[in-house]
């Protein structure tokens, strides 16, 4: 974990050896006061050089990464779309696939793909929905637009039992809608740092939704069809999604969804899931814990501030009441597993969201077709461009 070192008299030294060179860490010194530290640093690290810049920082004023923070520091493996070479690699992979014998025939190209060939330095190909899993078996894409929707899959293996698998698919839906809503919040300018935070949490929510589908055996066209072409009547989101409206409700929704994913991930990790699930779900859990912490800070702030206290209390009560269906995968909603998960979930929500939760004692069943205007809007907007194009154009 990133930590704050405590040595009070130690100063870290950053120097630049000339204009155009980078400012880099060169070492540290011990000094009783900041002024003396700077002069000592110059004598220690720059006495034979003409330095352009010398910055000295008290070690205790720094927050530094540790040796086990590699995962936090790395670019996210479920977020290849953020990597600089992604668009070029994706285009190259697609044109390679198009020229292979099994390729789907697409409308005639206006220009040969080679016209904008990627540079030779493009990084290795990255899959759009990378299987952190070792190549899970893929299923044929459900084609909601061309034929009757397939039955919900109940044969997904690997999560350590089909009820867990069902729950993961349901939470993937919640994560997808939440991720989209948070994406819209980037330009809501609550605060600039918050814009960046919801941008990352939103992208991670979408990435987690995608990861869950890959682990459940979906390939990429199937995942897109699942999220974009399935009619609302076939979604079974949590009723909390209906309250994904103003900011206090969004905070409450973010909190309950992060808590639910965390609980399910903990359970999944504990039952020794199938190959591929463990690293993926561990990473999902770690990221969701960071989200949970983010929403906890917001919940505390909104609950403590006189101007927002009542508004947040109302949103929190309504969202927690509706979130009682989070683990109600089965119509009766009350399997032993569901009850265990629900109890842990209710406790985690209370710990993080504070008092005022109206979470029911037992899990309620999820029902199809809920989600209200929040889901309806998300789905109808998502189809506007997609429906104008032939199937398979967008990947």
């Amino acid at each position: 974990m990133p930590h704050v070192p405590t040595d009070p008299d130690v100063y870290e030294v950053f120097a630049q050896n000339g204009l155009g060179k980078t400012l880099g860490h060169v070492g540290s010194i011990v000094s009783p006061c900041p002024d003396a530290a700077w002069h000592l640093a110059k004598e220690t690290y720059g006495r034979r050089d003409d330095l352009a810049t010398l910055w000295v920082v008290r070690r205790a004023d720094m927050t530094v990464s540790g040796g086990d923070d590699g995962d936090l520091l790395a670019a996210k493996t479920r977020m290849p779309h953020r990597q600089p070479g992604f668009p070029t690699a994706r285009r190259r992979d697609r044109s390679a696939a198009a020229s292979s014998p099994a390729a789907v025939i697409l409308p005639t190209a206006a220009v040969p793909p080679a016209a904008v060939a990627p540079p030779a330095t493009a990084p290795p190909a990255t899959a759009a929905l990378p299987a952190t899993a070792a190549s899970p078996a893929t299923v044929a894409p459900p084609r909601f637009r061309d034929s009757a929707p397939p039955e919900r899959r109940d044969d997904a293996r690997g999560a350590g039992g089909s009820e867990l698998s069902d729950l993961w698919l349901l939470l993937a839906d919640d994560l997808f809608v939440l991720g989209n809503r948070l994406g819209e919040r980037i330009v809501d300018y609550i605060d600039l740092e918050e814009s960046l935070a919801v941008g990352s949490i939103g992208q991670e929510a979408l990435a987690h939704a995608g990861t869950i589908l890959v682990l459940s055996g979906f390939d990429q066209p199937a995942a897109d069809a699942w999220f974009f072409d399935r009619p609302q009547g076939r979604w079974r989101v949590s009723r909390a999604i209906e309250r994904l409206t103003d900011w206090p409700s969004t905070v409450a929704c973010g909190l309950v969804i992060a808590a639910a994913v965390t609980v399910l991930a903990e359970r999944t990790v504990a039952v020794e899931p199938g190959e591929g699930w463990l690293p993926a779900i561990t990473a999902v859990r770690d990221e969701q814990l960071v989200h949970l912490d983010h929403w906890r800070r917001w919940a505390r702030a909104l609950a403590a501030f006189p101007e927002t206290r009542a508004e947040f209390a109302r949103a929190y009560a309504e969202v927690t009441e509706r979130a009682g269906d989070m683990f109600g995968a089965r119509p009766q909603g009350g399997s032993a597993l569901a009850v265990t998960l629900h109890e842990r979930f209710a406790a985690l929500v209370g710990e993080n969201g504070g008092p005022g939760s109206r979470m029911p004692d037992r899990p309620l069943a999820r029902t199809a077709g809920v989600g209200g205007s929040a889901l309806a809007y998300c789905l109808s907007r998502g189809r506007m461009v997609r429906d104008d194009y032939a199937p398979g154009v967008f990947q």
Binding site: L19, A52, T53, M79, H81, P84, F86, P87, T88, R90, R91, L106, P107, A109, A110, V111, P113, A115, V116, A128, L129, N180, G183, E184, I186, V187, D188, Y189, I190, L192, S195, L196, G199, Q203, L206, A207, Q220, A223, D224, F228, W247, P248, W298, L302, A304, F305, P306, E307, Y377, C378, R381, G382, V385, R386, D388, Y389, A390, V393, F394, Q395
Partner: protein, 295 residues
């Protein structure tokens, strides 16, 4: 301490003594940039919920986050120079600050998005590469980060354009070409009026905050971007832009009176942008105060 550089200008950190003109100029540049990033992202943000696949939505969301991130780093530079971040959007709402002409329009179609973004991103890259050479170092560093991300956005825009041109139908491909013709004059105008012979009397040039003139940037930009569209198979109408045998680019001069009118708030989306920002601040200001714990 500030150091002399080859061009004869000193360069400054925040805490270096510097002429008021440099401090104020840097604050103004960073403030203008922050505003234009924060408002300039809105035309693309309007398309996020229509992005037609999981991956496409992730890519567009990442771009939108980057753009707001550019607004954030520019606002931090401005804040350190005494411009409170709240005032950046407030001045825009009060009519004291304006955004560039290109941000007074919306994208009418998905097909227009790719070529529009390609033109804008490439122009922004050229502009930032120039401003990066400026004498105020915190702003130069912010621009270095911003410019790097703009190059990702350029690749993203190329991918968007290529996808429609390769897999779209004839009508969709036609809309890409129309998008190019619609946005080219707007982005030509974005790079600013001709310098005539005033550049070297321009204070910002003299103090080293604006290293290159508008005309040089426009030529460098056309030199880079027109071949890209030709390679994509987009017809480039010589009445809009053409290369003279000398290598110099000739183009239909924007109607500067019209551009001025647009910037003053007379563009098709001018009011829409203001409304969005006003509503967002009305809705959300109390939440920001809650986070900071200030009434």
């Amino acid at each position: 301490m500030a150091m002399a550089i080859a061009a004869g200008h000193r360069r400054y950190e925040l805490w270096d003594p510097m002429p008021d003109e440099v401090r104020e100029g840097a604050r103004r540049f960073a403030t203008v940039q922050a505003l234009n990033e924060l408002v300039g992202v809105l035309p693309f943000a309007e398309w996020l919920d229509r992005a037609p696949s999981h991956t496409r939505r992730q890519m567009l969301m990442a771009k939108i986050q980057d753009e707001v991130g550019h607004g954030h780093v520019a606002a931090r530079v401005a804040e350190d120079l005494g411009m409170p971040r709240e005032r950046i959007l407030q001045d825009y709402l009060d009519g004291r600050a304006k955004v560039h002409n290109i941000f007074h329009y919306s994208f009418a179609t998905w097909e227009e998005l790719g070529p529009g973004l390609l033109l804008m991103n490439s122009a922004a890259i050229i502009q930032f590469q120039s401003l990066m050479k400026g004498v105020y170092l915190p702003y130069a560093r912010a621009l270095r980060k911003i410019e790097r991300e703009e190059s990702f956005h350029y690749q993203h825009a190329l991918d968007l354009t290529h996808e429609v041109l390769t897999h779209g139908d004839a009508e969709q491909r036609r809309r890409v070409r129309e998008g190019f013709e619609l946005w080219l004059p707007r982005v030509l105008a974005y790079l600013g009026p001709p310098d005539t012979d005033t550049l070297h009397a321009n204070r910002m040039w003299l103090i080293g905050l604006k290293p290159d003139g508008n005309d040089a940037l426009r030529q460098a930009w056309l030199n880079k971007i027109i071949p890209v569209f030709l390679k994509l198979g987009v017809h480039v109408d010589p009445a809009l832009v053409r290369q003279a045998p000398s290598g110099e680019w000739e183009f239909a001069m924007p109607d500067w009176a019209e551009v001025k009118k647009v910037i003053a708030g007379g563009g098709p989306a001018s009011q829409r942008r203001l409304d969005w920002v006003r509503n967002a601040l009305d809705r959300n200001t109390r939440y920001r105060r809650a986070l900071r714990g200030v009434s």
